[in-house]
């Protein structure tokens, strides 16, 4: 990339966005030509059905209007089934963070132990390999049945899906610390615990952070699906509830918000990763 034109990339992004919006607008324009229908009948059905068609997919202007409504009052609370989009996002974030932090509490120490010993690493590897690819949603019925609480089940599902990348990356990072550094520590007769905390941990930190960054991405992906299943609160429930109302404009708003929050979470983790990175 040439550094003399820093505005080129953002400009191109804007152009792509404008092109996408134009195509979207063109594709979703309502068709002209109204079929003549009895006015008493037309009053009972939607605008499109009265003209003999189906309700169309909303265009960018409908979505923008809807988004503006949501952003004007994001934190309203009108009873257990009707809360603002900000409140729903907060519920989802709280679930994701609690499941994710629990997973980190388990995965990092456990990964450390596994990484320190080749035998344990080999012994546990088959279990990890089998459990890792299971879709977190496949755990949901089991979780609901055994835990008997929908909220805790959602947190459990986040936990179980974010634990593996962290565990594997921690173990890998710890196992691949340069042998020279461990030898130096041994030569200086540093106690084992101190070696672990002052040599191995900083050395493995970038790998561990990579695992944590992958995990938060997965956790945010999964929470939407999990909340669509358990209902009640959260941005996933919001999507489900608007699906129930067949309000595609609201669903597109939610999709945009989910993307933005996911990007934000990833950016925070990337910033943290930069703090612990080092140059050899």
């Amino acid at each position: 990339m040439r550094p003399d034109r820093p505005w080129a990339a953002p400009l191109l992004s804007l152009a792509i966005l404008a092109a996408l919006l134009l195509v979207w607008h063109a594709l979703t324009r309502p068709e002209a030509g109204q079929a003549a229908v009895d006015p008493a009948y037309a009053a009972l059905v939607g605008q499109a059905a009265a003209a003999g068609g189906q309700t169309p997919v909303p265009g960018p202007l409908d979505v923008a209007r809807q988004m503006w409504l949501h952003l004007q009052d994001p934190f309203y609370d009108r009873g257990p089934n009707d809360k603002g989009v900000g409140v729903q996002l907060a519920y989802s974030l709280a679930r994701v963070l609690s499941g994710y932090l629990l997973a980190a509490l388990v995965a990092v120490p456990l990964g450390f132990l596994i990484g320190m010993s080749r035998t344990v690493y080999r012994a546990l590897d088959p279990f990890i390999q089998v459990l890792k690819p299971i879709s977190p949603l496949a755990w949901m019925p089991l979780a609901l049945y055994t835990i008997r609480d929908a909220g805790v089940s959602a947190v459990f599902v986040i936990f179980i899906c974010s634990v593996w990348p962290m565990l594997i990356n921690t173990a890998f990072g710890v196992a691949s610390v340069r042998q020279d550094w461990l030898n130096v520590a041994r030569t200086l007769e540093v106690p084992r615990l101190r070696t672990a905390l002052q040599v191995v941990l900083p050395a493995a930190a970038p790998t561990i952070m990579t695992g944590m960054r992958i995990s938060i991405g997965i956790a945010w992906l999964v929470i939407v699906a999990a909340e669509m299943l358990i209902g009640g609160t959260g941005i996933g429930y919001f999507v489900w509830n608007e699906w129930n109302n067949l309000s595609i404009a609201n669903i597109i708003c939610a999709i945009l918000l989910i993307g933005l929050v996911g990007m934000l979470l990833d950016a925070i983790l990337a910033r943290l990763a930069r703090l612990v990175s080092y140059r050899e």
Partner: protein
Amino acid sequence: MSLFRNPFDPAARLSRGCSCGRHASQAEHDGMPAAGAEALQSRAVEGAVMRALFPQDDLRRRFIQAVGAGTALAAVSALFPLGAAREAFAQSSGPLEKPKLSVGFIPITCATPIIMAHPMGFYAKQGLDVSVVKTAGWALIRDKALSGEYDAAHMLSPMPLAISMGAGSNAVPWTMPAVENVNGQAITLSMRHKDRRDPKDWKGFKFAVPFDYSMHNYLLRYYLAEHGIDPDRDVQIRAVPPPEMVANLRADNIDGFLAPDPVNQRAVYDGVGFIHLLSREIWDGHPCCAFAASRAFVTGMPNTYQALLKAIIEATAYARDPAHRKEIAAAIATPNYLNQPVTVVEQVLTGTYADGLGNVRNVPERIDFDPFPWQSFAVWIMTQMKRWGQVKGDVDYAKIASEVFLATDAIKLMREAGLTPPESTSKSFSVMGKPFDPARPEEYIAGFAIRRT
């Protein structure tokens, strides 16, 4: 029974009366409009006090004749705080074990009494703080009810039977104290099929029903089988949660569904489908959804259960009146409950609706609300479970029906809500012209040509 007779009326007898017990004679019972629930409650309290003061009815009558009803009332009120007693009774039959309850519902019009009881204050009137929680599907509502997260829930009327019998879940004693609605379902087909109205042309169709253990499943199967279509071999029937049905119909993923409203009306509203047939044309007066609770809740918290059931039955009585339907539609169409355009819910509840083919139809009986859990309904449902192989072996129809469909509580509370409960707990009816005798379920099953037994 003479519970609601005016005890200050010298002509009245407190020991004999009409069939419901509210009137001096059977003729008066037949001719008199039902009085308000509060007035009846007050009468019941006054009656109890007077019976306690005058164990011999003759003595009471002579006393009132001698001094006059007004003086008697004043005298008794001076001796006994009648007003306080009336109030105490009106509040509840005893202290509530658990005033904060959680009740799950699926966002469909069948749940109208459960939902509207919240915004319209029927729960609050019984001293209950109920949060009604929207739930994503029937399997989830079952699991949340089984796990105790919900104290009671909106279920499909076959579900309490299936749960009690252990079909599709572990057997847990479950009860159904009240039916929510009768009728109110419809078969909706995709607009593509508007020229294929004869069920005989439906081979290869993909249909959706809300749940395997639902009246929708049994009614659709019954309807298809009566037209010679084998519901297991000639068509595909799959369970799809009601909110997802219109989206699936629009995507041509299914050809049609037998679904609860407002799903049918919503398909019309969006120009995706048309209403082929209302379920009342299959069986007029069929039950659909139910108010259900575990036996543990019913026996462990009797006062709370009574108060909750009373709220539901009063809400059902209110919903029954066609004059209230518009007001109810406006109250439950909001995002907090059904989350639908008001006109869609209104068309369902009032029965003046667009059928999707350009006609406005007027069927006031499209949906109705009747809380009485007829035990013969339970028997019919079990015959269909057996017919389609959902339960195997011998079924003790009458026993399960009486254990799950709690008719006695409904009779008592319907009376208190100013409704007239039926004399017996069983009635016969016919489905698509074929009469059903609840006393002979096995013969009924054997009478079908298409069955899995």
